[in-house]
Symmetry: C3
Subunit: 344 residues, 3 copies
């Protein structure tokens, strides 16, 4: 969508410090890739080279007069250029909406409650007892089980599967292929075989949660597996049964949490990091990529490695390990020296 | 479902040691979450605190008179309370059945053989030459390829995909999004490019196998990729081509086995643990979470870490590594002492 | 399919050195599993035992007279028996083709361009503005978003999802359940919550790319996430937004690349290995299974472990770590010796 510089500045709360207010901007781009009708952000002095070379029609910055800004570029100033740039992306590349209504090829079982303005895409299946909140979008091929609740303004991408009893808050986004509510992995070993513990609990997601593509969140064995408001979960993440995740947490791609473990508000789990059995991450704690957490992490603590340890201590170990082959030589030298002393 | 305490005790083979046989129980729950119409298990003295505080209407225990059992709770006694509690979950929260029959929106190609009482859900696709055993449930959106065999009493959850030639035993459960029979990852490098080795084998699963959501089991390049009776595979697990997995194995979430590797009966692979090329886990061996197995594991052995080593040895290394920075200081002190001796 | 030995030899460019040219061969198999109407490859002396015992009707080898070849087996000779065997698999086990045409149960939105001989399977959904190249096969339940381009001779397996703006070259294969073009994982933290950065870029795949089952390739935040010609990506791999992958790379199962990182041509990432933020693998470099790459890898370098290091150095550390508990004892012995010296 094309906007004048003036319209764009108004939408994102920025000031025009340089350039023609009537010029048209039609795309958001990075400094290196922007063309004469694009706006690009300059948010970090590390990008000074890109700034000097940019062909962007307009640059968005916190600064009044960024050094090296090409003459060809208009300048928009904002006290929070990162947030203003998000506004610019939204204004210039608006999300493509789906038409409200139920596609003729969808299957909505009797006993489903659909809110106003809901979209149900082709081949979607909504099972009985389920409630879909106003303006929510259930895209093609999604399967929503029985007795589920999808809050208002949610987006369920193609091919998502909810088993029965999955409850979502408002403004939740679930990406393609995610599975919510499959059986937790629970067995008792008897007579040489694994006897399944029936998994009859549910999944509860708060408001503003986002779940990545092909991620899995198992339902509780008896109670709930829960994810708090504002938590963001990336692709291919695995959440076991009865896990409890707080508010505004971040779980990067391929992270995992074993059954009955969890994390408090604002905790962060790096890519492919995992929380083992009955371990818990405290509020605001962080685990680096591939960390393997085997015991509780204190609030605010940052851990690394496997078994995960406090970051500085872990890094000290990594550094020491690198010099370990050399240490063997030093010890051998000492031994030889003492042997010689004792011989003489 | 509500049952009298007496009915429930009968179904699960427990004795009423205290409480009104005619009271109603309608849910299974943990001690901490149970209410006055719930039954909760007390299977471990570690939960003595929860027992003392529980509001459960009935408690199930191995003990005649568990210390601290609240006056409000009835007491059921069983020689195996864990197994009896599984019975209680099944009795109080029976699985919701699908109606036998083929949904009008399903697509069953000619030349398919359907057993008695089979359910085929909306938008499911069953391709030619395939046989579905009696009472099996193929849920919505499942795609079953050509020349497959699904045994009796299987449950195929929504959106599962079988490529051609996937063979299942009886009472197999496949969770949503799992893919069975995709091409193995095999190429020969010629003339600067990777030439695909056609993957024309099959997948064979025994009886009572369970496969988790979004898990992948590739078909054999020529022969079969096989999973033995009673083996349980969790979400997002990756099984390469021509892998051989024995009976009653456990593979936790995000575990992986590279092509042509495998494990013998009763072996266990922890979460995100992996078996590398041409390595094999012996009978009853176990690998901890995130272990990376690069060579054969002996029967009964327990391994940990990457490269995976015998558990005690691996733990001793982890402990030594933690003290390694300090060891550098001790060696430095020795060196200084000897320098001083030599100087004097 | 059954062929005479003579026909088969002609198709794969091999010479018959022994055996009846009119005998029938109907399967390709390994030496150990081959029967009297199968052809098996003998490509490595390590399989001499299997060769001596094989019941194969014909053996394919580089050698004129492999020692131990059973009398029962015909002999085909080829200068590249691995490649010739690929030809034999293709000839004896031809891929089962889908009938060209659009299935009546598929949903093709207005404004879609379909090339000649395209197959669109049942319940597939092709959205407006998309172009499908000649002879491409879109199997059942695939969802192709808006404004996508699928080149000629591609195969899209069941239940694949493309979001909008996914562009494929020619002869691309995407396996079941893969998701291309889902939102990258990008947020800015403001006022105690994660504000989503809209993801409006695209995905671009070159020619001859293969993507595994349930793999995820996120679209760029603004620009493209790109995969070069001939690159092969295995099951459950995660590719973040704006990642750049060169030509003829190999990414094994469960590998991952964080946003804006990448790899140059001919690089290889082992199973469950990962590239962290803003790291890049040089041309022809290799990372072992489970490696965690935290900084650039030089062209041709081979790395291992986490944090990933040059392979020899990493292995030396692993070996040293194994002997570390013993080193503590040696240092303790030195300390005691010196204490004794100082006491006396």
């Amino acid at each position: 969508m094309a906007l004048t510089l003036n319209e764009l500045a108004g939408k994102i709360g920025a000031r025009i410090l340089r350039g023609d207010p009537n010029m048209f901007i039609d795309a958001a781009a990075n400094l290196a890739e922007a063309g004469p009708t694009s706006i690009a952000p300059f948010t970090d002095l590390a990008y000074a080279d890109e700034l000097a070379k940019t062909r962007a029609g307009a640059v968005l910055s916190k600064l009044d007069a960024p050094a090296g800004l090409p003459q060809s570029a208009a300048l928009l100033q904002s006290s929070d250029p990162e947030l203003a740039f998000i506004g610019a992306i939204e204004a210039l590349h608006p999300a493509r909406l789906e038409t409200p209504g139920v596609d003729a090829r969808a299957c909505v079982e009797p006993g489903v409650e659909l809110g106003q303005g809901v979209h149900i895409g082709p081949f979607a299946l909504i099972r009985s007892g389920t409630r879909i909140g106003a303006r929510s979008v259930i895209k093609a091929h999604a399967v929503i089980g029985r007795d589920c609740v999808v809050g208002e303004d949610c987006t369920i991408h193609p091919r998502v599967v909810f088993y029965d009893n999955v409850h979502l808050g408002k403004r939740v986004t679930i990406h393609a292929g995610a599975v919510l509510g499959a059986d937790g992995f629970g067995y008792k070993f008897r007579g040489g075989r694994h006897v399944k513990v029936p998994q009859v609990g549910c999944v509860k997601l708060g408001d503003d949660v986002e779940i990545g593509a092909n991620a899995c969140i198992d339902r509780g064995a008896l109670g709930a597996t829960s994810v708090g408001d504002g938590t963001k979960i990336d692709n291919l993440v695995q959440i076991g049964h009865n896990v409890s995740i707080g508010k505004h947490c971040i779980l990067c791609g391929q992270a995992a949490i074993a059954g009955s473990s969890g994390m408090d508000d604002y905790a962060m789990l790096g890519g492919n990091a995992g929380i083992g059995d009955k371990a818990f991450m405290g509020k605001g704690s962080k685990a680096g990529a591939k960390a393997g957490i085997m015991k509780d992490v204190a609030p605010g603590e940052v851990v690394f490695g496997y078994p995960a340890e406090e970051r500085k201590s872990a890094f000290r170990q990594v550094a020491a390990l690198r010099r370990l082959p050399q240490l063997f030589e030093r010890v051998r030298a000492l031994e030889k020296l003492l042997e010689k002393q004792n011989d003489s």
